[in-house]
Point group: D2
Chain length 341, copies 4
């Protein structure tokens, strides 16, 4: 009788990180689970398992030759969340092997933090706490000199994937007008969610709060630079929530330092940030150490989405929760792989 | 021909503070506007105007004798927002004189800030910024050791007036279960807004995030004390948004200092807070100098609500935006009058 | 020791109609309940009870002299739902006696039916069923010649009290623009619920679906007549949900018969409608025999709201669920009393 | 220079049916448009165009040999809405040719009508109109003997694709509990939209209103039959909105005729229905001649979604609005092709 190997090669994740005991039990019912999580699974172990492997959870290299030796493989489920160039995507498509990732697991915590940070910038929450601790707080109206209401403020979204749509849902009670710049989407998608499709320049000129949720691609590195920050309204708020590489980081810092805008960032060109990096001293900048997405619940969602889709695939049904790798667009993405969770 | 005097005696507010030019024009159309805003309107001026006064905007003393000398008076519109014992409420009721206040103008900015602060406490936003500035930030999962998701966390509301209901609307997308303690309300009001009526103890025991929106009355001073804080779940968040007097403030600080809970407060027993008050150093406490309500837009809303209701009253219609003074409940309230805006 | 009489004189309602056993138990805890429900409570019985009566549920005549003989009376709770001229409202106000009614209990079922009827008129549901039964149905696109989508159609509301606001909530997912004509309300109330304040003419000209929720007053009888129907867009839908007297009924029927508009009505100038009334044959008119409000759950809500507010009043708190009689506006209302439930 | 042929072979649709002038202009900018809409495009014409064809709008047969002769083909966009076995789907996948359909264009009008019909069944709208016309109407409570409120009634959905999710959104203000049976979906998808995953039997037993939105597959023909109808609560409502073949139609009619349930159906085993079919006489059945989806706006949405995705595809981006044919699941679907719009 045939074995059904479920090859688990999850680094930089570990099973404990991404699966609750309950989900792990569901994983075990998918087949014979073979795990290697202290290092990347060694080539000889992979090779030995390939003939009976039906599912791969992880980022194992899967060139054409390996795919050829895995005739029963149904899916490769990337639990790191960025598609890497170590898989022959075209061969997978031709074979009907699903290559998917539960990357959207990180969208809810990031969107939640993004809203918290946006209210913070608008209303001066962190800044007022800092002033209070320094003994220089202002009360009442005097303490609201530079604040504005997030409710009703024109909002702009740069990038309208999982993250942008999550944020859009969270801010509905605030009744903002919302402009969206996303060159990968048709107007219909934007309008269905009660937003206005807009150019990048319109988003920057017309919004009081701008959220950046765009992925890095080969085409958009540094596309928000000095010219773009200059377009923003004085006193408006800029939140960088996706990847540092989409902005000209020094230009952003300069726009904040000069008092033209205020900003929040969860990402930095080099992480960890150097101890003496002057970014640490910028007034008007809300600092977050790439920590808005990596919450415990998000990692667990990564695992439960992966297993739920694997269950569907084993029944011959298409996955519903994970994103599929499209060979064409996968090649445009430039995300750096994550080295630690 | 009779004059229609609109007596404006708005201290501690001023007309510029509470009315945009547009609203001020509408005010002028209500009658002959007489303003005294550098001090309380002198008695002799009030007396001279009473016979022709149809509307009072402000906190003028109006005992029975003055009411008797104001036979055409239709409404007294308090623009400070707390009803004071300087009016003969019963006489107003008998005469059909509306005594109203647009106090709910402050609810939207407070609720917005309360949500921002709640996400801040849950996700550690201000704290992470402080750590980053101190060079001791943690990245990714390591930076989320003590955080929790606001989305889905059980929420408790103590007090369910304008403020509590505004907050309830703002958090709908986060799908929290919401328990409400408000002894002045029937279960139906709470349930209609998809909340669960609960006792104070249930709110404290079952919630991960507790918001205090209760007014101070003669019956509830300091009703949240040591026993109540001890009931809260370890690591939960407590937000004091209404009046300091409803809690035992030292007990709250002790609960935070000990690490049992984290908290945010917009109010303090004595304001301004003394320069050397140790409250300024409490880790785990988010400090706000009574500034969440006093935004420019809230003051303008105060004026526009007051004028809109005055317009209705002059047409013989009931006011729709302001709250009415109920003689019975007005006497239970213990808010301190505001001395400055 | 004093008795606390709860005088229950509910005709045309009965206690079984308006209270579930559970609510009836709560009623019993308010005091000593004395019920007369086979006829109006006889004068001698009322007189005997007045000295100890604390609450009245029903439509008992309460002129000044009776109020004077009821020194402990706290509230009169009208369970019919229309305020009648059989109470000295001014004396009640002066005494601090609440005069209230849970009339809004009928709003939810009426709004639900109004939406059902609006979709029916827009999409031709009842008409298509009638054609199918007659063997003349059209399939697919051919069956949609005169239909339009309710979603996105401009909606107009005439009257924006409980009913209009309930309907407004129900149609949110359909993303209609909504114009509101209500001369008793300030623009702020309308705008807060994402509607546009408008004149009657604007509502009629700009809407594809017009709902009439207005009460009859001494000033608005027949205010929607030939001129107004002529203003409506050809093929638009008109729903009369409140009182027949606000429209010129023959003018409405003529507008429907001519094919200019389609309509639904839940009310008629004389009810029951005569067997040979030609209204029964009008194509394009959806007929409902004053039945959208009178659902079993609405009657039970009448009772539970009445008892919940009585509970608050007995604790010295203001009612929260019922509407208060304002002496000034009560006198403008012209609703006919209901003779049967 | 190369021609970019856009081959348009849309029968049973026509371009006028599915594209407004504005969308048609956008179509023209995609390439050189060649249309055949009075009949299926003749083989010789297809063959002549294949070498330069980049896009196909329509249901042209595309076996492997034709695909091989269309080396520049990027997408086949089915505007009928059911995937048929006349395309070599596997070859398309291997070539990276998108095979998509804007079938979800029909979901909004069907969901809207489904809600209208559900309120109709719950509240007896069509039936009350019929009784009124027959002179046997009942007023007020008497007219509500068999009605129930749709608001709050437990709802069951069988099938949770585009249609089910649209309906779920529309009923949010009614606060129903919603159970979902859909064996193709993981629990997460159901729960995210605030529904409860359930078995078919649970849906039938626990719901007061059951909507059938399921597609027909090789596995589910007639899966709702006598046993299933017997499980339903007496007086509950059943709405058949997708395909007649998923139910045992005679069993459904019997359940309605016996008075056990009430029902609405938009589909019939044979359409058009025979003039003497007894279905036309069934009391308690709301009849609709397969007309809830085929609204003018839905056909226009079909065209605009098709063109918007074609625009993305021509830019090298993945389609966002249309559904992709998954070779595996496409083969399970059993919808009959539409012969006329």
């Amino acid at each position: 009788m045939k074995r059904n190997i479920v090859l688990v090669d999850p680094l930089p994740r570990t099973l404990d990180l991404i699966m609750t005991p309950d989900v792990r039990r569901r994983l075990a019912q998918l087949g014979e689970v073979v795990v290697c999580e202290d290092r990347q699974m060694p080539a000889e172990q992979v090779e030995a398992l390939l003939p009976d492997t039906v599912l791969i959870f992880g980022q194992t290299d899967m060139p054409k030759e390996r795919l050829d030796r895995a005739p029963r493989l149904k899916a490769i489920i990337n639990v790191e969340s960025n598609f890497l160039p170590n898989i022959d995507y075209q061969a997978c498509v031709e074979r009907g092997i699903w290559v998917i990732t539960p990357a959207s697991a990180f969208a809810p915590p990031v969107a939640e933090a993004a809203l918290g940070m946006a209210i913070d910038l608008a209303r001066g929450i962190t800044k007022a706490d800092r002033q209070f601790r320094a003994g220089v707080e202002d009360y009442g109206l005097a303490g609201n000199g530079e604040t504005f209401r997030f409710a009703g403020a024109p909002v702009g979204l740069i990038g309208f994937g999982d993250l942008g749509r999550q944020l859009r849902d969270l801010i509905r009670p605030f009744r903002n007008s919302v402009r969206v710049f996303d060159p990968w989407l048709p107007a219909e998608i934007v309008e269905r969610l009660d937003c206005m499709p807009a150019s990048l320049d319109e988003v920057l000129c017309e919004s009081r709060v701008v959220f950046v949720f765009a992925s890095v691609t080969s085409e958009n590195e540094g596309f928000i630079g000095r010219r773009e920050f200059a377009m923003m309204q004085p006193g408006s708020a800029f939140l960088l929530m996706s990847r540092a590489a989409v902005v000209d980081f020094p230009a952003m810092l300069e726009a904040v330092r000069s008092g033209h805008i205020r900003a929040a960032t969860d990402v930095f060109p080099d992480e960890p940030v150097a101890p003496d990096d002057p970014v640490r001293k910028v007034e008007g900048l809300l600092l977050s150490a790439h920590r808005t997405g990596g919450t415990r619940d998000a990692f667990y969602a990564l695992g439960s989405m992966a297993v739920a889709d694997a269950e569907l695939i084993m029944k011959g049904l298409p996955p519903q929760l994970c994103r599929r790798a499209d060979p064409a667009t996968a090649s445009r993405l430039r995300s750096k792989p994550v080295s630690v969770s």
